[in-house]
Amino acid sequence: MMRFVLSRLITAIPTLFLVSLAVFTLIRLIPGDPVSLMLGDNVDEQAYAAMSQQLGLDRPIAMQFLIWLKALFSGDLGHSITTGEAVLPLVLHRFGISAQLVLVAVAISTVIAVPLGMVAAWRQNSSFDLSVVVGATMLMSIPTFWMGLMLLLYFGLNLSWLPVIGYVSPAEDFWAGLIYLIMPVAALVLHETGILVRMVRSSTLDVLRLDYVTHARAKGLTEGEVLRHHVLRNAFGPTWTLLGLILGNLLGGVAVVETVFTIPGLGRLIVESIYGRDYPLLQGCLLFVAITYVVVNLIVDLCYPIFDPRVKSV
């Protein structure tokens, strides 16, 4: 077990290296640079040269990369060009905010989606099934930025139940923090539930057609027992894998939801650092996102045997 985890982490190193290299090169090759943005339309070549030199951007890209790598090995991710903050604590702080949002949303979606999807599959082609499919499709086809705005206008404005902007960390004040999380979580839940329901439904359909389900039914088990004992565990395997993908994907940035609901999360930070050409910050963010991917996938694989009896151990 430990050996498996270790070897997985070691094989991830080339991926992390490649991600860093690709991000490093790509963001520098795209037209536009942080110094131009800082100077805006007040272009002065002398000031431009001086600032580039001060930020070390006048060196060749390969050289800049080596300097960055060297600092990385001593645990230094550098400082943001736009705000001057140290990158590592900033990324960790913002990640915490995104993570709580995403984890809560995915957990709620799973709790809703699994029973709905299973029952829909079990009653395939019934009117219940059709309404679940249509409902789920509708939900997943509304972009989160529209869903978010509709929630804001209805619950924030028409009903005045919830605050429209602002953010309070639940770590500082649990109840106040919770109130600010309701709408962004709801927007994510509505969207992700749509996707998950369809996933659960289709993997349940696969399992229902297998021989042992027919066998279990022939043994005289009630439908409820069949669903609970045989179908649930087997159908959850593929869902679990995709849940890992969704989680990894979301943790890497819920930029849209964060923008709509003024949440200072990692997704918004990434988008802002791309538009602001904040090289060190973007590199730090994406290195961190890549690590998150590796870790989430590792956890998913480690948990796989719990949900899929066919996989005995890793």
């Binding site: 943005l37 800082m38 339309d41 272009v43 009903l159 609901f261 003024t262 050409r277």
Partner: protein, 516 residues
Amino acid sequence: MSSKKRFLLSTLPVLGMLCGIPAAAETLNVQITADIRSSRPGVNRDALSDSVALNVGEGLVAFGERGQIVPMLAEDWTVSDDGRVYTFTLREDRLFHNGAPLTAEIVKQSWEALMAAPDFTCNIYFNGNRGSAVERIEAPDARTVIFTLAEPDAMFLKNSAQSLCGGMAIMHADSFDGDGNWKGPVGTGPFVFDEWKRGQSIHLTKFAEYVPVGEGIDGYGGRKEVLVDDVNLIVTPDRATAVAALRSGDLDIVPYLSTSEAGELTENPNFQVHAAPHGGMITLLMQTADPVLSSTEMRHAIAKSLNIPELVDVATNGLGEANASLVPIGSVYHGEVQERAIDYAPEEVSALLKAAGYSGQELVIQTNRRNPINENVAVIAQSMLQAQGIRARIEVLEWATQLDRFRNGNFQLSAFNYSNRSDPALAYSAVVASKEDRGSAIWDDPEAIELVEKTFQTPDGEERQALFDALHELYLEQMPFVMLANNLDVSVSASYVQNYRTWNGFTRLWGVSLDR
């Protein structure tokens, strides 16, 4: 917050905790579209950072409402006959936020520290590059500061009052920690920089010991009376969210709204919409080095194809006013000559095109989606040009990319906005230069370069007016780009907010009160 009872908020003192103040305080909640870059005036700044800095710090002099220089921390000053020595007399009894009194020695230290900072944006104005170098600063007594310049510079005071230099705000040494690193601004302004939650909000409190001077609101200077207890600047990047928050009462002021959203709120009695032009410029740039656009006839053909009043009206949703001159309409230098424009004359276009030898080459108009006015200008200009047989295509770029192309002069047509310029000479110098010296130069003409040079050396008065008139005549003759209008600030505030105006891109928080 709002007059409506809020179901959840009323049960929990959430907002009190958000602001960290007792519930009875008068708090102003103001949108800020992005976080500030730093809290140090003039260093690592953008327009939003300037806006916060100018509420917290004050310089020796400041820009008044019509672009004139007014006293601020200096009560008076004299300029030597050779134009090189500026002697300032400081006001008495000005206090810093830490309680320390203002002295000449602190002014000297503050200037020297800023000019020594390598990332000080305005270095070029004080090191002999674009303005005269500051040779030395002396403080012979507690109330006198003497600046000696390397050469005479009529722009010295205007340069130092610029918002991008943070108005050369005087900062106390307590703004730095023991190692000389920036900690936070300790200035003399009417607001204290209290707390900065990065990515979330900036909290300013009223500086209780501030003694207002001067008569009435006047630009960055004048009478600065704070009528609220504190201000929250809440980072709200999405415009639609900001409008929803304004409607719900979570925000009291949205200082920069796009004209399209403001149009919808104009008729709503719960809101006050104010649109005011400033010294920024809405332009359609032309690359005069381009094979097609190097012909003056071609550029005139483009200008005459554009119905500029209509274009400006639609692009700014009826809030803007066309201005053919780089001198803003509100400026003391905007006179009769500046009213002259190239009029919409579609009947003359085909002859001009023929003279220019135009044979249907496609022109590309660059624009971006960050500023809706740019996108509007591009879309409308394209359709007006097409109508006169000039083929044009729109290329929408991400802002940093467009800026990069602008810097290198890599475009044919570009819907581009210049930020606020506090003096017409600065507006001209933004476009006039030799393309060899500066890739972003638009108007490369020796006569224009010389005229602009002179406007910098000539003190305010009739002689300077004549220079601006000559520049405008030359512009109309050569048509190096199309000046469309001055950019505008559109602010929206709730009906219970008194006296709020965004002035020259600046979120001016003094003088604003709440009357619910």
